[in-house]
Amino acid sequence: MKKTLLLYFMLLSGTVLFANGVSETSSNLKKPVSVSITFATGDVTTKEAIHTIVQNFNKSQNLYRLQENLSISTGAYLDSLKTLNASGQMPDIFECRDVPVFVRAGMLEPIPQDLQTLFETTIPVYGTVYTAPFVAQYPHIILYNKTLFDKWGINENPKNYADFLKICDALKSHDIAPMAAGVADIWHIGFLFNYYLTQYVTHGDPDFISKIYKKEVKFNTPEMIDAMSKLAYLFQSGDMEKGFMSTKENELVGLLAGEKTAMIFTGSWTITQIMEADPDFKIGCFPVPDEKGHVILNGGATSQGWALTKAAAQNPDKKAAFNAFIKYFFSKAQYTTFLKTTNSLPTTKEKMVYDTTPLMGTILKLNNTLPKTLMWNMGVGENELPPSYRNWTYKKVQELLMGQITPQQLVQAMDDQWVISIRDFNPTQLVKSSL
């Protein structure tokens, strides 16, 4: 009996030990959770910078494996996400740009409170924060060929708009196109359109779009006609490179570095591209002031950033992976490298200290000291543009620049199109509970 009991005990102990052993071994060998991630890959520098952080994250731990989809370019980003969603391949984590669109579709998981505390500013959409913003909006400024400016004695930044036009005239006299813009990419003509709209019409009013919805203001005003006339003048007076209508944004660096133009109006990410094209190229920068010398920069926090889909959030492991990735991405070591590589502006509460070029230092200083406002199409809530309105407007602006329509015709057409566009979309009449 004793022998039987002993044998039974030994078997039981063995089973328990073995079971523990198996359990431990399986825990050690537990497969990492696979999480899909995607982001806009239009800009090679940003793509590489994010890709490096994702790879570093995968190497830094064994619990999660981020699987990247690197095939989505910036131009068709929303279209590609819609296609992925329709075919059941929506990534778990993604760079969300059109946040309200995804919120209205009920596809985004709110960002946990502890992650929100990482950021200086988070932008709620319909009252909830859905994204972890990884760059603040870039200021749009003039980047110029400093060597040519020095050679021709253009040593002072413009104090007002007349000074700016004088610089253009001085450059023209040296047989070079003063400026170039990527008009063939409609989003890039948006930079100049937005400059004149902000500087001369909205004066940085963040609720301008909401006022149009409420019929308090309209586009067809003398200020808007004046602003659009100034924009058209730049293109029709020879201040712009002659082939502007077919010039794409990615050609601007070549035009500047190849001395086919002396200035481009763009964001600070272009600096990296210029330095890669010609490491010896000397770049200068200045913001474009209005007649009174005032400057309102494009900039500030946006609702765009990393987001987790609601479907992925149903899986606690994927949710944990998202939280871990966000903390890793915005850790000092990773985020400073990202900012430095892409010449981006930080979004975190924690101050990110890193070596930067004197030029980027100047841009950061301008960004910290001058008044800022978001681009007209970056608003959320009552300031969100109707879905097709931005692209339609930029196409019409192309017609203005070619001289096919007048500034008066443009602003009247903008008002007419507005009426059509808001028939199906008017956020001022959206009931929050319906979301």
Binding site: A76, L78, D79, K82, T83, N85, A86, V101, F102, R104, A105, G106, M107, V183, A184, D185, I186, E241, K242, G243, F244, M245, S246, T247, E251, G254, L255, G258, K260, P387, S388, N391, W392, K395, K396, Q398, E399, M402, Q404, I420, D424
Partner: protein, 294 residues
């Protein structure tokens, strides 16, 4: 038993065709029928809610200046393409028909562009036609001629796209014309020679009527290709400058995907479907009249 066997044998072709019919129904017929319903809705392409709005999308189309611009561009492009592509293809076929040496090599050279993707060829030509760096303008500048904005001038951009499409597609239609030329009985041509018929008269009175079958195929195919051109537009102009090169297919894509109006985009797609059907039927009916049995 024999009857049963005969019945089974008779049904074999039906069963053989069944997988194809099933797939075609599933992936072509069903989505086409479903799209009729989608065209009657307002939907952003993401939201789970689709709102039925009746015929409003179609009513809006009637008043949409952008739609009519795309409609005009589509018809212009399709007709110009069908005419030019066939003229170039027929000319190449007639020349190669007379060439004795390296005929296969030339056929391959002319056919080669057809094997490349529309997007790839589009980007290649964008580089060649670039205003500042493109080879075309470099050559013009060397000849002391001012640069031309091939893709940025609204009066030229659509012609630039047509040029690239002709370059890409003519080789394919050339092969069909060569096959047609080879099928013309040589005794008829020899008889015409003996009778002293001039080459021009011979071409219009013998070659052209006898090529009517090839004309039917080629004109129909090139017209349909012109109506549904998309990749070259995307790669070369994105519908610009302004709306100058926007066609119905490109408008369908931008409206439905980028601008979140899937219902409206589907309504345009159905109009394009009807347009393609009407064009093909009318054209086939017209050209068939001139076909000659060999």
């Amino acid at each position: 038993m024999t009857l049963k066997k005969t019945g089974l044998i008779k049904r074999i072709p039906v069963w053989m065709a069944f997988p194809s019919i099933l797939m075609f129904s599933l992936f072509v017929i069903m989505p086409a029928v479903m799209s009729i319903y989608f065209s009657l809705t307002s939907w952003d392409g993401l939201s789970p809610h689709m709102q039925f709005i009746g015929l409003r999308n179609y009513m809006d189309l009637i008043h949409d200046e952008r739609f009519w611009n795309a409609f005009r561009n589509t018809i212009f492009l399709a007709v110009a393409l069908a005419i030019l592509e066939n003229i170039v293809a027929l000319t190449l076929a007639l020349i190669l028909d007379k060439v004795l040496k390296a005929r296969t090599l030339f056929r391959s050279i002319f056919y080669l562009p057809n094997l490349l993707s529309g997007i790839v060829t589009g980007y290649i030509w964008v580089a060649l036609m670039n205003y500042s760096f493109g080879i075309f303008n470099v050559v013009l500048n060397h000849l002391k001629i001012a640069s031309i904005n091939w893709l940025g001038n609204p009066g030229i951009a659509l012609w630039s796209i047509i040029f690239v499409m002709v370059w890409k597609g003519a080789g394919y239609y050339m092969i069909i014309y060569i096959a047609g030329l080879n099928s013309i009985p040589s005794d008829i041509l020899e008889a015409a020679d003996i009778d002293g018929v001039s080459p021009i008269r011979k071409f219009f009175s013998i070659t052209v009527p006898m090529l009517a079958g090839s004309f039917t195929i080629n004109l129909t195919l090139s017209l349909i290709n012109g109506l549904k051109v998309f990749d070259q537009i995307v790669a070369m102009t994105s519908g610009g400058p302004g709306f100058a090169t926007e066609t119905l297919t490109y408008q369908i894509y931008t409206v439905a995907f980028s601008e979140g109006k899937q219902g409206y985009g589907t309504a345009i797609a159905l109009i394009l479907f009807l347009l393609t059907m009407v064009f093909s039927l009318v054209e086939t009916k017209l050209i068939r009249r001139f076909e000659v049995e060999v």
